[in-house]
């Protein structure tokens, strides 16, 4: 029964991770950008949620309606401002990593400046309650967050599968040159994808705000974790990211139970290292040559 409990907790957390990672892997798939600032932007949304909760008593789950469009716009603007300049650079992929690294530093610094480095958390009523099904126990906050995450993932899948823009995004992910040949405006698609990725980061930020306490420098841990997830699933594959997230979340829940919570992050980094060791080309794909 203890293992069922571990599985349930792992899957709940995995759902949220999956949504966070899907945005990151989407950006990589469409424009070969490893966005090191992804988690920093997630935190931006957490702080927005925090402000809305403290000042307007807005429920963090409602504030998704604010953070998602806001982050979408920010994403499109940032993309158009920064990335077209780097196109055609022979070291494009590497440059974009450094660029997003710089972005992460800027965001972290500004958050620290405005909110200081202390821990914050958003505490709606459900943050401290739990749902019990038989002997299985689920923190209410994680249950809600997980359900919203899965819902958003389904919406993402529907958009990618059945809309014209979604088709263009998938085509660009599979073969950028071929997409251009059939008339896809890849710059526009890239901007929209960046927006979608950021909107997902926005949703993640709102949800994380009531699941875990946060402070500005926290995002490095988050982004390292997310990178481990998407490397496991294969960079650029949304399906892979979701599977990777669920697997690793369950694994880390198991480690927490067996060894203790301090060591649970090691699951992510060790997995990442092992994969790089065993299948360096397989998971990052041969396409990502410099």
């Amino acid at each position: 029964m203890q293992w069922v409990q571990v599985l349930v907790l792992g899957l709940l957390l995995g759902g949220v991770y999956a949504m966070m990672a899907s945005g990151l892997t989407l950006l990589f798939g469409v424009m070969r950008v490893v966005n090191l600032a992804h988690a920093a932007f997630i935190l931006v949304a957490s702080y927005i949620t925090y402000v809305l909760f403290e000042n307007l008593a807005m429920d963090p789950m409602i504030s998704l309606v604010v953070t998602m469009p806001l982050m979408f716009i920010l994403g499109v603007v940032l993309y158009l401002l920064l990335f077209p300049r780097l196109e055609g650079n022979p070291r494009y992929v590497e440059m974009t990593v450094l660029l997003t690294f710089g972005l992460a530093l800027i965001v972290e610094g500004m958050l620290t400046f405005v909110f200081t480095g202390i821990f914050r958390s958003v505490r709606p009523e459900y943050a401290s309650s739990a749902i019990n099904v038989g002997e299985i126990f689920m923190p209410t906050s994680q249950f809600y967050a997980s359900m919203i995450s899965f819902a958003l993932l389904i919406v993402l899948w529907l958009v990618l599968r059945f809309t014209k823009t979604g088709t263009a995004i998938r085509a660009t992910m599979q073969n950028r040159a071929a997409a251009q040949i059939v008339g896809v405006n890849v710059r526009r698609v890239s901007a929209i994808s960046f927006g979608i990725g950021m909107a997902l980061a926005g949703a993640a930020g709102s949800l994380l705000s009531f699941m875990f306490p946060f402070f500005p420098a926290r995002h490095w841990q988050w982004v390292a974790l997310l990178l481990a997830l998407i490397v496991l699933g294969g960079m650029g594959s949304i399906k892979g990211a979701v599977i990777g997230a669920l697997l690793l979340a369950v694994a880390s829940a198991a480690v927490t139970t067996l060894i203790g919570p301090t060591w649970s992050p090691i699951t992510f980094y060790l997995t990442l290292f092992l994969i790089l060791l065993l299948r360096p080309q397989g998971l990052f794909g041969a396409k990502v040559r410099l």
Binding site: G88, A179, Q180, I181, G183
Partner: protein
């Protein structure tokens, strides 16, 4: 009346690299078919990339129906009727043949028209009709080339630029592909072909361009070029002797 496509004194190259095209001028009339031949590094592929908007010319002008097209994006060139078939069968590997063809009609919003065009492609390439539901990445080289050609037909372009369609194909399969390209003329599509295999390329078209060192050295009726021993010697030596 201006020619369908005019390239005038075009200079082009990649990144900060040297000029590959060094002031190239040529023009293409509607309804004909053309083949560009010349030694390796003459700038054949670069010319196609420049015309189709993948590469912006550093100097000179590209005109379509008399209108200046410099700086247009590939998707803008496509909606103006210039379609590109690059040399590596550029497909969407995990989409089916049908989805790949549908992507060819990405710029078409009319579903009925899309269906009509797709039937037309299956008529032209019956082999593809049997493979509709198969992932494009699992097809043979010849079949993949057919999908890219079929995909080009989806928007009924005015002119289609085909870069080395025979690359990596067995001679028999290549012959089938060339036969299909000959058929494009009957569909009212102007063809501009780049081919390393000069004999095959010139046999497929009406008019030939001989490129060397980034500019046009000679042009004339395709059969004339094939028959002219001096041109064979000077520009096509290697490419042709390899065929024998």
């Amino acid at each position: 009346m201006p020619a369908l496509l005019e390239v005038e004194n075009v200079v082009a190259g990649y990144g900060t690299g040297p000029d590959i095209l060094t002031g190239l001028t040529l023009s293409i009339e509607e309804g004909n078919s053309y083949c560009i031949v010349g030694p390796n590094g003459a700038g054949k592929s670069t010319l196609l990339r420049t015309i189709t908007g993948f590469l912006e010319p550093r100097q000179g002008e590209v005109r379509l129906d008399g209108a200046r097209m410099n700086g247009s994006r590939p998707d803008q060139m496509l909606s103006a009727g210039v379609c590109f078939v690059p040399q590596d069968a550029s497909l969407f590997p995990t989409m089916t043949v049908r989805e790949n063809l549908a992507m060819g009609g990405y710029l078409i919003d009319d579903r009925g028209l899309l269906k009509e065009r797709m039937d037309m492609v299956y008529q032209t390439f019956p082999a593809l009709a049997d493979r509709q539901g198969q992932n494009a990445g699992t097809l043979s080289g010849g079949e993949q080339q057919m999908v890219t050609l079929g995909r080009a037909l989806m928007i009924e372009p005015k002119v289609v630029m085909i870069d080395e369609p025979s690359l990596g194909l067995a001679p028999m399969i290549a012959d089938q592909i060339f036969e299909k390209i000959t058929g494009f003329k009957d569909l009212g599509i102007t063809v501009l072909l780049v081919e390393q295999n000069a004999v095959k390329g010139l046999e497929t078209v009406d008019w030939g361009f001989v490129l060397d060192l980034g500019s046009l050295e000679f042009e004339g009726p395709a059969d004339g070029i094939l028959a002219d021993p001096r041109i064979r010697e000077l520009y096509l030596g290697k490419a042709m002797s390899r065929e024998k």
